[in-house]
Symmetry: D2
Subunit: 510 residues, 4 copies
Amino acid sequence: MGDAVNGGQSPDCDPKSSRDEHSFGPSDSEDFDFDADRLREECGVFGIFGHPEAAAITALGLHALQHRGQEAAGIVAYDGHRYNSERRLGLVSEHFSKASTIERLPGESAIGHVRYSTMGETILRNVQPLFAELNSGGFAVAHNGNLTNGLTLRRDLVRDGAIYQSTSDTEVILHLVARSRRQRLIDRFIEALRAIEGAYALVALSNKKLIGARDPLGIRPLVLGELDGRYILASETCALDIIGARFVRDIENGEIVVISEEGIESLRPFPPRPMRPCIFEYIYFARPDSIVHGLPVYNVRKAMGAELAREAPIDADVVVPVPDSGVPAAIGYAQFSGVPFELGIIRNHYIGRTFIQPTQSVRELGVRLKHSANRAVVAGKRIVLIDDSIVRGTTSVKIVQMMRDAGAREVHFRISSPPITHPDYYGIDTPERDKLLAATYTLEEMRAYIGCDSLAFLSVDGIYRAMGEKARDPLRPQFTDHCFTGDYPTKLTDVGGETKSQLSLLAEAS
Amino acid sequence: MGDAVNGGQSPDCDPKSSRDEHSFGPSDSEDFDFDADRLREECGVFGIFGHPEAAAITALGLHALQHRGQEAAGIVAYDGHRYNSERRLGLVSEHFSKASTIERLPGESAIGHVRYSTMGETILRNVQPLFAELNSGGFAVAHNGNLTNGLTLRRDLVRDGAIYQSTSDTEVILHLVARSRRQRLIDRFIEALRAIEGAYALVALSNKKLIGARDPLGIRPLVLGELDGRYILASETCALDIIGARFVRDIENGEIVVISEEGIESLRPFPPRPMRPCIFEYIYFARPDSIVHGLPVYNVRKAMGAELAREAPIDADVVVPVPDSGVPAAIGYAQFSGVPFELGIIRNHYIGRTFIQPTQSVRELGVRLKHSANRAVVAGKRIVLIDDSIVRGTTSVKIVQMMRDAGAREVHFRISSPPITHPDYYGIDTPERDKLLAATYTLEEMRAYIGCDSLAFLSVDGIYRAMGEKARDPLRPQFTDHCFTGDYPTKLTDVGGETKSQLSLLAEAS
Amino acid sequence: MGDAVNGGQSPDCDPKSSRDEHSFGPSDSEDFDFDADRLREECGVFGIFGHPEAAAITALGLHALQHRGQEAAGIVAYDGHRYNSERRLGLVSEHFSKASTIERLPGESAIGHVRYSTMGETILRNVQPLFAELNSGGFAVAHNGNLTNGLTLRRDLVRDGAIYQSTSDTEVILHLVARSRRQRLIDRFIEALRAIEGAYALVALSNKKLIGARDPLGIRPLVLGELDGRYILASETCALDIIGARFVRDIENGEIVVISEEGIESLRPFPPRPMRPCIFEYIYFARPDSIVHGLPVYNVRKAMGAELAREAPIDADVVVPVPDSGVPAAIGYAQFSGVPFELGIIRNHYIGRTFIQPTQSVRELGVRLKHSANRAVVAGKRIVLIDDSIVRGTTSVKIVQMMRDAGAREVHFRISSPPITHPDYYGIDTPERDKLLAATYTLEEMRAYIGCDSLAFLSVDGIYRAMGEKARDPLRPQFTDHCFTGDYPTKLTDVGGETKSQLSLLAEAS
Amino acid sequence: MGDAVNGGQSPDCDPKSSRDEHSFGPSDSEDFDFDADRLREECGVFGIFGHPEAAAITALGLHALQHRGQEAAGIVAYDGHRYNSERRLGLVSEHFSKASTIERLPGESAIGHVRYSTMGETILRNVQPLFAELNSGGFAVAHNGNLTNGLTLRRDLVRDGAIYQSTSDTEVILHLVARSRRQRLIDRFIEALRAIEGAYALVALSNKKLIGARDPLGIRPLVLGELDGRYILASETCALDIIGARFVRDIENGEIVVISEEGIESLRPFPPRPMRPCIFEYIYFARPDSIVHGLPVYNVRKAMGAELAREAPIDADVVVPVPDSGVPAAIGYAQFSGVPFELGIIRNHYIGRTFIQPTQSVRELGVRLKHSANRAVVAGKRIVLIDDSIVRGTTSVKIVQMMRDAGAREVHFRISSPPITHPDYYGIDTPERDKLLAATYTLEEMRAYIGCDSLAFLSVDGIYRAMGEKARDPLRPQFTDHCFTGDYPTKLTDVGGETKSQLSLLAEAS
């Protein structure tokens, strides 16, 4: 099953994601999953040093980060003599909950990784952490983000005789480290980081050290925690909470931390630049109980809902969230507006990822496997429907229709973030630009396409206000927000060439 | 794996559920699942007659009824020549979503069943529907409920040479039908029903008919639906909604409906009695979007919360639901009281049923795999915590502690149903009486045990008010409410004897 | 997987084995398995009483009896309180080699069963031993043989309200025991045996006893062994040898042995009749190292080969056995004739049962997955090819062709048993009469069909001589040999009716 | 299961095979597998070019080569655009028989590989063929043999920045090819071959070519075949026979063949040397129906038996082969000596590789799961027991004991090859020298240890005679026979260093 690997692809073949092929109109073959039109991020990372239960702790941390990636998970642990690795397709709780799996991962230091969920097949050899036996000993790396010059670097390295086993951009980093002529491992690692561009939060493990690194702008998040005197690195604070670890601080943009038996050391090999974290962590990716750069995510989302209520009020009977990601904004909207919050859509928790509608005629029933309308709340009502974002708009059409089928008198759709007009190249799986609804349609065209009575998005300044800023600073924007503004914060070396894809997402295509 | 069966037990052995063995104090080995202290019901049933996709429709209906039983699922379909059966441990979506499974179930009539989830092992041969080849042809039955004279009848039948293959009380019904000397199958079925006592909602399938039956008091629910002119039977209306079927009416207490190519016929072989449905469908079992006997469950639960706010108000900062079952009552409480509703506990959706905490020292971290406190909402606040019921109280202790750990200043615990003081014998898996917290402790003892600042339950009359009654009619109670009142509506033949168990729950013990 | 069960069949449907449908001509879809045209027997049985490792011993005994049935295996063990059962599709070594499986079978007494292998699907609920909870306690039965009035009895019992869970004729015996009005279990068992006709070797287990029984003619084999003072019952002596147990004696025809803590008791409830065991145990079924009724099977087979050399000599260069069952007869033929014995056909031991030839064009290559010709031995030679029997003749055609393709100058085919002209009804899976090559064709027609240069079978008297008799006694034949002679030793009650099948083989058809 | 991978090992850890740890005395925990003391070879290879069913043909070829490796199998196919790969632990027939697997391997050229069987765990990432995406396109390699400077080369390459994903020496070849600065792929491949020492038969696949290569001495075998005008490469002729392909010729020692759409080209980049193939192909590895360098293996083995009868005659009653590998030599011995050949040991064909004896007390029964003595042949007889080789001698002890337990009067043990006194470094998994029985013990000590009445080995000249030579030419030995003579035909670069192992066998140890 999962152990089949594609042997690679010939260089002349054109990788193309099968996920991006449908156009705006709702197609027959689409599923009715409300999450089908969300953005997806690639990963969460976790690492711990010096704990006798390193792998078990890492499994728990990854479980808390599961919302960042449901496709696959992996852990590499080092027991002082040997690196052991377990990498699996599926949820953390499916594989890493077993004592037998954890027992195969002895040692006091470990790093782990979760990957995001796709419709299609996946490839085990791309599951991280990746590992290489270097001249200096073993070296494992796990990565959240995407290199914007990954394809270019890969091509150069292959030309020079490097053999790739995965299509992951993380392997680019491994090869750069392996080929560095510097003596010390940390210098080789820094040399590798100097060669790469883009967004990354990295955790790495060597015979003596746990290393964390964040890109010069701090696009992807990484925090430092502490449990009984042992240091932890994790994508979000919720991964510290699950094990009762203490939050120490965010890793800074451009910072490298080196954790060893001697303690923790901070390196800053890059010229200082202002922090510019990804705004989508607040809108969608981070768990509501995480605290990102000092701001509780739940509170920020409620504030987005309240700003939305201020900017786009409407006379209505109930506020209905699109579950589950729309709930905090809906509570914020309801509290600001005074319109009562109600569960107008019920989520079925017992759905696996794989309920295939068995026959054509059953499919035509318009079956809703994951969600159902709560008619008692919706029928005859004017509803304000709250969601966090619109990507292609395909599921928005269905949610609005579901509300109307349940008897809603009016459906006012409110989105607690601005229109997405530009694709991402930093590890978020966005469709190409012409598939983004807001990139092509006017607001009124969008409303008509979705079929709601009114439609409003939160403004860019509104979302900055929800995060405690007065407004977006156009000269030095406080966040990475190119999906709304087109203002990309780094060079996009690979995009210039013939391939438009992010290397970190190619796995699915090859 | 699932195909191992225990061969049965000797009559002298003492079946005892391993689930009921811990006492009040929170034990080390307990898991941190908030749902661990819920009541559990045995089943949901579904049947359809005359539809070319009978098995696929049944799979979807069972998926919508999955909350009534997560342990196992089964479907029997009849293709005019042969009965085919698929019975599996696990969720409907794990097995019955596959085209290959559905293809093994050809035919235009089918019935299905879901069973509830337990911690322990389960037995495939008890998974329903059960089937027998009678003299008159095949006969399949699926059952929700429990016979209060099932053990007694079973003993008599074994003495007379009957061979049981399961420990299910449903098989008692099969044997009674098989041994009836009446001519027509429906007469044999009625003769069997006359012999049994207790609670049941049954669907049965013969070569020519789909049959539904509800016990004389209508304790367990059963509804009639219609899709493109074909009749459907289901435990709840949400199973009609998922396939776009129309709700026709509730099956009445004591009614038998016979669906065939000639249409639908209604039989009433019992003396008329007033309806007395189980009150727990409204409190916990039914899905919030179902409508039970004309009352939308979501609205009833909100009304319970509002009644609770009226009966037990408190000066507080936030209303926090215990997810997910406490949410509607918490919304009701918040709306009535004006105290804001907030998600103070975050649920991790990616947990399977099997995350085992791998080592002792990790277990001692007090890891919360399924839920985490949302500190931003809880810290420094006086919170009203809303749950739907307390059984043993073991998880209540942990939830309150989790709130305090997250910095709650005060925790006021409010329960949207009355104290549970008596066990059930009609298919709900309650612990024995001395394990029920409210059966042994006073209100103040309960508060002290749970560790909250104040504790209040909804009154019995309060819950009747939430369901639209003025109060409980002590002479002719409108609902089956013995868990709160000790007023059992039927004879309890088996309970008199040496075995205190419900036959329908013995499967897990044997 | 294995836990899917067919729910049964409607009474009006006509069960028919899909195995018997092709006619004489070699068809495209046939596989190239030399064993495809062998007779198959249903089962082997094993039981042990009073041994602390009862289930483990039984697993080993069944492994030694695996040649009697490769489709499925089961063990029931009794631990003084409870009967535990494990029944699995597949080989004994696949499932019952695991410590975890054996640990689920605690207790000091156990019985087990292996079933034969078929092409088609199989049904777990038919896997033996079968078990019933009787009024007097648990009762498990395993059966080798076939009841010639099983269908008739089954029909009567169903009419009387019995519910069948399998299609096995063993369940008929269980129901007869369950319904007997006698007091003692052993009397109920004897009453059941008095009602049945046909061939059977039974082992049964109750709370206090291990019981063995053999039909009045002793058609199917059963031996008594002893290990460290504990009694064992098994189909063949090789099941004693594997565990180092001592052979005590054959169970006699019509004998019932009752093994308990008091020791062993022998009952003979039937009028005495002369023994008449099945001749096919010697020809094909029994393992060559077993000793059946005092005769070593290997020696008998060599003697058949020698008799064949005497009856049908030929001038040739090499004697080539069809592996593996033709080897002993070929050695006997070679030693008697002086023609050298050579391995002209090589068997590939690494074949599973499931190598499906993936595509049409590959299939047309005439691939031989299981056997290959050893050209160095065959090319240019006159070969005597030795096999033990011909059923349909379909694989004989291929074997001869394989020899010719490898360059054989002449192929003289010699069969070490007489022509099979009549079907069996005692548990051997023979095709219907018109599919038996020798029932329809003359010797010369057979030779022409098979394509060999000469063809000869051993005579009926020849086979009796190989077994130490002077000749067949036509008045009181010493063996059950109806397949060669048409002389059926019992009534064939079921055959008179509309169904020609053996109940014990119906499993595959329903 | 199989998809777990060990991440590698730190350079300071000492790899040691757990297989080699027991000393001469038969230990309790040893299994009773007669094959446990055989030599094992690493692999078989297969390749085909230009056939529309390339992968299916390759699967069949690998099935025929299954005796060369039962641990794992893999196929890489190229469809003109993409290389697809399936690599699995287990038998070819378990995975590659499925149409679904073959369908994932489209294309007209394919290579495949089988690996040998071990007791312990194995590592999927070592399963061949290995693949690399080179600058020039994809490149896949499968290898039978072992590089005697593999570890040394690997160390050099890692020092230079190469990242290894497996511990296979085949990956050394891949890296050498990847790093070559030559232009044409075939020149890069030749440059790689010039760097390596040892034994190899290689098949490789590029976008345009199928390549075969044999080491300068031709130690490991490789043959060229042809099917409908398409060329095939395979380890043995039996892989041609299974698909009806024609044997063209052996690939010569030091020859490289390049098969493309233009036809076949032969390159000889090494200085010419006399052929010196491995003698063990004749003794044990090759299938009896294969023809190796013009000699039918079956005939050679019979001739070894005949030579043995000439060199070491004995007065006896029966010749008994140790199945299955001793059978041809036993036939040869019997024919030469006139002592009758008999099956004194019966093999149970239904054993999987995993029958674990479940409990200590059962283990002490001395259970024989795979073989049983045929008492009827052995009891009271003087037997000549024929085996093909003795490695550690551990199973010889048991076989002789089994014969004595079955009543053998005398046991004369005859081995159809000379004493093994030296380990192999060319891909045969021999124990270290001090574990080889004949390296430490005299003939009489061996006889006493094994417990037979007499013991004799075939002489070195005797085995050369069986292969048609007059005697061994001490100046230019005709075969690679160092295991008997200590005369290693190549440099042993790796052996000089701290590690004594063969890199190709390290997989199991890491």
